[in-house]
């Protein structure tokens, strides 16, 4: 399946570049190490032959559209297309500057789950064969069903198909990933305030403030992020727990009502922190309180940017 999609992406890219419809095509190229495929800009038909599609395309390409002045064709599955819509609504990307090559997401693989399955032994190559991953190391080879090692957010995906596209690559598929998205935040809801605080501390205790999560997120495009401000300094720069937790909780709140659960934050984190622990609860709250799903239509305004007289109040007033 992936091979056919790769072919179609390359053909579309070459055609668009040849016809001068776009200045470059943003997709992925094969990574130099297993299970991480790299975002890639192809500017020529020759370079377009480097484009691929796989189960390891775990970043959000919408992130790389911000600030570009040229016309870019971008490969976008469901969540990425929602991010593009979100960025258009926030005036960070112009609709006429993107040519969206939509496709239905196969659900991306979490490389840490694969690594755990082979007991941490060094993996030298991973080949996709239908619905199986063939994982090879120095002295072992294992076959793992793809669906057992998908990313957490892909199991509970609610939008595998693109919500917007200029051209469709491959066919539309099943809309959802099969899991129940309400269940993601459920463990949090059962905990008392003290227990939640402990769980929060435990989740983020390995954070090294590299900001890979923030920088991988298409919503974090402020030229001066709150953690960089010094007058006033909202958040300290040390590894003091208070500073680390402040960063994460404030970032999650800044994404409230805008986050589409693409999982790029979790995929980018070098320490393997489950960053979505915060965003999943916020996403559910927004959905239940305001009936709003971000990035579904151009022109929509996020509920926290808008006041309506009948907005829910139960979290403010007793």
């Amino acid at each position: 399946m992936e091979v056919k999609i790769t072919q179609q992406i390359r053909e579309a890219a070459k055609r668009l570049l040849k016809e001068g419809k776009v200045d470059c095509v943003l997709g992925y190229r094969k990574g130099t190490i297993p299970m991480v495929d790299a975002p890639y800009f192809a500017y020529t038909e020759e370079e377009a032959d480097n484009l691929i599609w796989s189960s390891f395309c775990t970043k959000n390409l919408a992130n790389f559209l911000i600030g570009r002045k040229d016309k870019v064709a971008v490969v976008a599955q469901g969540c990425v297309s929602r991010s593009i819509v979100g960025l258009i609504n926030e005036n960070q990307v112009k609709r006429e500057n993107v040519y969206i090559l939509g496709l239905c997401s196969p659900g991306m693989v979490d490389k840490r789950k694969v690594e755990a399955r082979v007991g941490g032994k060094e993996i030298l190559e991973v080949v996709e064969e239908g619905e199986e991953l063939v994982v090879k190391g120095r002295d072992f080879e294992e076959r793992i069903p793809r669906r057992e090692v998908k990313r957490d957010n892909c199991y509970t995906c609610v939008q595998r198909n693109p919500v917007i596209y200029d051209e469709m690559i491959g066919e539309m598929g099943e809309e959802t990933g099969g899991g129940d998205i309400d269940k993601v935040a459920a463990p949090w809801e059962k905990l008392s305030a003290d227990e939640r605080w402990e769980a929060f501390r435990e989740t983020f205790k390995e954070c090294i403030r590299c900001y890979a999560c923030r920088n991988a997120c298409p919503l974090c495009y402020c030229t001066e992020c709150f953690v960089d401000e010094s007058r006033p300094q909202w958040c300290g720069k040390t590894q003091d727990e208070a500073d680390v937790l402040t960063f994460h909780i404030l970032r999650a709140f800044h994404c409230a009502g805008r986050c589409v659960d693409c999982g790029a934050c979790e995929s980018a984190c070098p320490m393997g922190i489950k960053v979505r622990v915060l965003t999943s609860k916020i996403e559910k709250d927004i959905r239940k309180l305001y009936g709003y799903k971000p990035g579904m239509e151009i022109g929509a305004v996020a509920p926290l940017s808008l006041y309506k007289p009948n907005d829910p109040e139960e979290f403010i007033t007793p």
């Binding site: 130099t32 800009f41 690594e115 755990a116 007991g119 060094e122 890979a212 300290g236 995929s267 980018a268």
Partner: protein, 342 residues
């Protein structure tokens, strides 16, 4: 200095012996990842890991380090006077550090202690109080390229003792005087043990397939490398996070800030990263590395051109491969250096 032998069943006793005088640290594995922890015996000490996720840089250059303290009260007699914090209060032995990491700190010695006028007392204090037992790599990983940058799986630069794992026993080769003192009481290694070590060394060095070439980078003028067209493309997908710099054993940039809370104040040093726009932001508003292209170029130029230029050919990278594994968008230093050398 003579090589010694230590059988693995005597290792526990050896480590326990060290703990009577030193705090001992070594890699332990949990959840498939090797991390540094304090150990009291050989129980969880691992010999079977490729390398630790974060480098042992924090032993000498902690991510957050208090340098000075002061009473934040201008009316007080002692107020606003910076006082030194006490130096490290323990002597330490770090066991099973990989040779590339040990070599990295030897390089950083040249940077944190350029000459007597520029001594980083915080770095030096910890280096002086730490003995390093390196563990040679019998099975280098697929991302290692240490042999191309002045290090190697059996590199002795930077260790006090080099330990080679022969399976049932360990050969300990003292490299420095204080390393020699630690292993004095052990049995001498036999000629057969030593020939096994040589064989393992040859095999390990041969197993490293990645070779990077730098002859053009080193021989060209700085500006020639600076103006190469590759910089226009390589930065496009970089996230400018700090993952590569934080995991790197040779990256050493930092930021100093004063923090106050009530009447307590401290001056603290934190890891910083050239990947951040804020790192070079001037108070005037000007930023000499204002674009992502400038910043991405800086990282590679610093390691592969500026450092060798200033330190007689020493390369600012030890080929540990962590940045390759950790980069979220797979910007591969081996690829970049290849293009820099074209």
């Amino acid at each position: 200095m003579g090589e010694k032998i230590l059988t693995k069943d005597k290792l526990d006793e050896f480590i326990k012996g060290l703990t009577s005088e030193y705090s001992v640290y070594g890699p332990t594995v949990s959840g498939g990842e090797a991390r540094w922890s304090r150990i009291e015996d050989a129980g969880k000490l691992s010999f079977d890991f490729s390398n630790t996720s974060l480098s042992p840089k924090s032993f000498f250059f902690p991510q957050t380090e208090c340098m000075l303290e002061f009473k934040n009260d201008p009316r007080d007699k002692e107020g606003l006077i910076m006082k030194e914090v006490p130096p490290l209060d323990e002597r330490r032995v770090i066991v099973n550090m990989r040779p590339c990491d040990a070599r990295a700190f030897k390089i950083l010695d040249r940077i944190f202690y350029r000459d007597d006028d520029a001594r980083d007392v915080y770095w030096l204090d910890k280096r002086e109080k730490t003995i390093i037992i390196g563990l040679a790599c019998n099975n280098p990983c697929s991302t290692c390229f240490c042999t191309s940058v002045g290090s190697g799986p059996f590199d002795e630069g930077g260790v006090d003792i080099l330990c080679v794992d022969l399976g049932e026993k360990l050969v300990l080769r003292p490299v420095s005087e204080r390393g020699d003192a630690l292993v004095k009481g052990l049995e001498d290694a036999s000629a057969e043990d030593l020939s096994q070590v040589s064989a393992l060394k040859e095999k390990a060095e041969g197993a490293i397939e990645n070779k990077i070439e730098m002859d053009n980078i080193l021989s060209r003028e700085v500006l020639e490398v600076y103006e190469l067209p590759l910089w226009d493309r390589i930065h496009e997908t970089c996230l400018n996070c700090g993952a590569c710099t934080f995991y790197c054993p040779t990256c050493h940039c930092f930021d100093i800030q004063d923090e106050t809370q009530g009447d307590y104040g401290r001056r603290v040093r934190n890891w910083d990263t050239c990947m951040s726009w804020l790192f070079t932001q001037h108070a005037s508003g000007h930023n000499p590395r204002g674009t992502k292209k400038d910043r991405v170029r800086q990282r590679f130029m610093h390691k592969f051109k500026y450092i060798p230029f200033k330190l007689e050919g020493i390369i600012g990278c030890v080929g540990c491969g962590r940045c390759i594994k950790v980069c979220p968008v797979n910007i591969d230093v081996r690829e970049v250096v290849k293009q820099m050398n074209e």
